[in-house]
């Protein structure tokens, strides 16, 4: 180690640590760091890229012959379900990574810097949104390759993409809060599989809900995931002649998802930020 480095006076922090400008810059710096981590972490990319491809291929090739959709084609029907499932599971990254950062001590570094606490969380959810968007593009290309078509025009198509991403962003805040609370990252993985698998399977993601046993059908028709899938399915023009169940969320799926996502953010952003301020590393 050489010792003679003149102190660089310019390197004293100049900007005050408050204000929108420094907040945006902090958020961007943390987002950038998280994106680099994705790029250097093959497991993560594999999960984000290969898993959606696998799901699209498996479901469309294995079930297309045996599951009937009234007046429609199963591949078309299925895609919105797989998109919904993928963004839901993609959001669990936020929780896992948050818990991981706390465990590895990285949060201790952030917390001795004069940065905005909330930037750590926004940088987290932003990066995960980007990852989810990439997953989505890949899934859609795979879908197109196996015969999926959206039939309501581009505007409606983009609306469908947007609603999936909005939900995934809002839900990643729920997972972020969980990531701050749980003792180890593994808990997030186990817990999310225990909760999210039933949530996607007892829904309209892969089958029409009127084919389910009565009790499950009722649950499925009120399940928020059903509303998400229904919204995307309608916007992609993929519902066929399948009847729309007559619960309010299923009749108004787009409104349900948008209002639901806003509610999630209003509740969970402040909760997560507040909880993060109190959390120390493990």
């Amino acid at each position: 180690m050489s010792t003679q480095t003149a102190p660089a006076p310019a390197a004293r922090p100049t900007a005050p640590g408050s204000g929108m400008g420094t907040w945006a810059s902090d958020v961007w710096t943390v987002t950038w760091r998280n994106l680099i981590k994705f790029r250097r972490n093959p497991e993560m990319l594999l999960f984000a890229v290969l898993q959606p491809i696998m799901f699209v291929l498996l479901f469309s090739q294995v079930y297309a012959g045996s599951i009937q959709i009234e007046g429609g084609d199963y591949t078309n029907y299925l895609m919105a379900g797989i998109f919904g499932q993928t963004v839901l599971f993609g959001s669990t990254f936020s929780g896992f990574q948050m818990a991981q950062d706390l465990k590895e001590g990285m949060i201790d570094r952030f917390r001795t810097l004069p940065m905005h606490d909330s930037a750590v969380l926004f940088g987290r959810t932003n990066a995960d949104l980007a990852l989810n968007a990439i997953s989505m593009v890949i899934m859609m290309l795979t879908g197109l390759a196996v015969g999926w078509r959206f039939t309501d025009g581009w505007v409606s198509f983009l609306g469908g993409v947007a609603i999936l991403l909005v939900f995934s962003y809002a839900f990643s805040w729920v997972m972020t809060l969980l990531g701050i609370i749980v003792p180890t990252p593994e808990v997030i993985n186990n817990a999310s599989f225990m909760i999210l698998f039933p949530l996607t399977f007892i829904s309209n993601a892969f089958v029409q809900t009127d084919t389910l046993p009565r009790v499950l059908e009722v649950i499925a028709n009120w399940n928020p995931i059903s509303a998400l899938v229904q919204a995307a399915r309608e916007l992609f023009g993929n519902t066929g002649d399948a009847p729309t169940p007559d619960t309010w969320p299923m009749q108004n799926p787009v409104v349900t998802v948008i209002v639901g996502s806003i509610l999630l953010m209003v509740i969970f952003v402040p909760l997560a930020v507040n909880r993060f301020r109190q959390a120390s590393s493990r």
């Binding site: 004293r12 922090p13 952030f110 001795t112």
Partner: protein, 327 residues
Amino acid sequence: MTIIEAQDLRKTYRSRSGDVHALDGLSLSVPEGTVKGLLGPNGAGKTTAVKVLNTLLRPDSGTATVAGVDVLRDPEGVRRVIGASGQYAAVDEHLTGRENLEMVGRLYHLGGSTAKGRAQELLEQFDLVDAGDRPVKGFSGGMRRRIDLACALVNNPQILFLDEPTTGLDPRSRLGLWEVIKTLVGEGTTVLLTTQYLEEADYLADDISVIDHGTVIADGTADELKAQVGGHRVVVTLVDAGQSGAAREVLRRHGTDDVQADSAGRTLSVPVDGGPQTLQQVLAALGEAGVELHDAGMRRPTLDDVFLTLTGREQADDTDVDVKESA
């Protein structure tokens, strides 16, 4: 002028197996431009104290100011003027060394190009230019330690908190870091460091606080502390550890305080009043008792003696330092 001041800090960790009073009325004060060393056995509360002062942890009670800023009321104001390196390196594994430094620079709001320039300077200063563009994942423990320390210096902090900064460093890197710290202090930086290496405290620290059970049990310069444990010591090394009982008995008769032994029981020492005559008397008495010596001499007390004397008596078995034995 006092730049770090802590008053009566208390922090209790609650767990199923009972409460741990990690800080139990700890007070500290560090004058500007000096180095304060915190010494103490494992679990004494050193890390907890440092974490309260660098805003990572809120104490249950007590007050602390850093550079005149209240740690509890304005943590962000404190963060702007300090640099901190914890006991375990807090760097991002997947980022390169350079990216870690740049990220920290940006989060200090230095601006992109200043952050880049500062990263380069620090890589050079810490001898990491070659490795700087590889992900930290592939760094050795010592390199990780160095990049972590470099992160703490990005903003040219006015006050530096270092928790066991040289643990895991090879001798060359350790000396290198000592020089870095000396240089920074020469430029006016105040340093609070904890260490397990007493020679490190001896070399770097202007003032030392010995901590045990969450409170300061002794305070002063290295020389003052050494004076507290008495003047010269007679030290003997035995040929056969089996004779340590007899040797201890002789030393006890000539000494002014308890006899200390290393873990093997071969090297014994005791503080004495007199000069070389006392050594002669001890040697004669040992000869009469038939104790064979490998080595014998007198020396001034070291910080090790201070440490053992001050923390040895009621020390639990959670420490790996040599156990002091009463004769």
